[in-house]
Structure formats: structure tokens, C-alpha cells
């Protein structure tokens, strides 16, 4: 596709449920990032994938959060046993291997009731 896509655009879930958020990066981009943007907050780095290398998971807030990237393309962010404080917009971005700009998806707005 022409840009980074994310699905779903909105997700409402009940506390304690698991959710999966999907990101389709720009074709050929080897780097993929997940961020969280809470109301009134900046961008919080969650996890970074670079090609087939081990991901940088240093930003994941707890062990309830995990992510995978299959075949170096599509990525899924999973939040287990969701809590109300997980409510936020989750952004995905991809970039080329040249250390250049990131292209952001539209985000998934997660609401935990």
C-alpha cells in the first residue's frame, strides 16, 4: 500500500480482556516502531523491530504487552488483561534502513472500560 495502515481504527474492550492491534508497514521498510500516545502526553516508545534482528523491547510498560513481526512485514501488538490505564492511541511507524524519517499510521484508539 501507499502508507502505513493500522487496524482496527477504534477498539473498545472490557477490563481484563486481551486485544490485538495490527500494523501494516510500507513495503520494503525494514524498521517498525510502536508508540503509545495518551491524552495530553507525548509519544511513548514501546518496541522497535529492525529486519530480522531481535527487537528492542525496552519501552514495553509491563509483561502484559508483547509484539511480534511476522516475515519482516506485518506486526501485531498484543495487550493481555487490559487495564483502564492502557486506554490510549497506539501508533505504528515504519522507516527504511537508511536512518531516515518515520512514516506513521493513523493509529488505533483503544478504550478500556
Amino acid at each position: 500500500g501507499a502508507g502505513v495502515s493500522q487496524s482496527p481504527s477504534n477498539k473498545v474492550t472490557e477490563k481484563g480482556k486481551d486485544v490485538e492491534l495490527r500494523c501494516d508497514p510500507i513495503s520494503g521498510h525494514t524498521a517498525l516502531y510502536w508508540y503509545r500516545q495518551s491524552l495530553g502526553q507525548g509519544l511513548e516508545f514501546l518496541i522497535y523491530f529492525q529486519g530480522n534482528s531481535a527487537p528492542d523491547k525496552s519501552g514495553l510498560p509491563s509483561d502484559r504487552f508483547s509484539a511480534e513481526r511476522t516475515g519482516g512485514s506485518v506486526s501485531t501488538l498484543t495487550i493481555q488483561r487490559t487495564q483502564q490505564e492502557d486506554s490510549a492511541v497506539y501508533l505504528c511507524a515504519s522507516s527504511s534502513n537508511r536512518g531516515d524519517e518515520q512514516f506513521f499510521g493513523p493509529g488505533t484508539r483503544l478504550t478500556v472500560l
Binding site: Q41, G42, L43, Y48, D56, G99, F104, P106
Partner: protein
Amino acid sequence: AQSVTQLDSQVPVFEEAPVELRCNYSSSVSVYLFWYVQYPNQGLQLLLKYLSGSTLVKGINGFEAEFNKSQTSFHLRKPSVHISDTAEYFCAVLTVGGGYQKVTFGTGTKLQVIP
């Protein structure tokens, strides 16, 4: 370790007035610098970037930024703002090494243009 500081969380400015949004960074290695903009209810998009060469970088919508290595700054400026510039602006620093790249974003500055 690297960090980005945007000291001003909100900047109100009258329409057609000049504006400067400040960004300072710290890094032990060479950096690439970016400004991203997020318009209300929209995603982030690149405003401008500094990779190398001229330290004065021009971006979209009349914005420009100057890389100052000695002051470790990359302030964003526009000589005359428009209502449509109301948005949140994020400064970011990127370092590359060992096959990895690391990006750090500032906490953002909300620019409010007053008619």
C-alpha cells in the same frame, strides 16, 4: 543514551506573528533531527529533517529549523503563523549504529494560533 527536551508544552501566538518552538537534545554520537506535526485528529507527519549539509533546513508550510551543534539545539521557526498552523509539534532525534536505529521523541509543543 539520548534525550530530547521541548521546554514549552504550549505556545499561544497571534496570527501573523512569528513563532519559535524550542528543541534541545543530548547524544554521545552523531544525530539526525526531525520535526513532526500532528494536526487535530490527524496522524503525525514529517515537517522537516536534518540529515547532513546545510544547518538551516526548510520544511513544508513555511517552517524552517536550524541545527546548532554547539548548543545541541534544533529550534523550529516560522516568520508569520496562520490559523491552520494550530497543531502539536514533536521534535525527534535519531541515531544509527550497529545495524540499529534509535529514535527519541520530545514531549511535544502545542501551538495555538489566536485570530
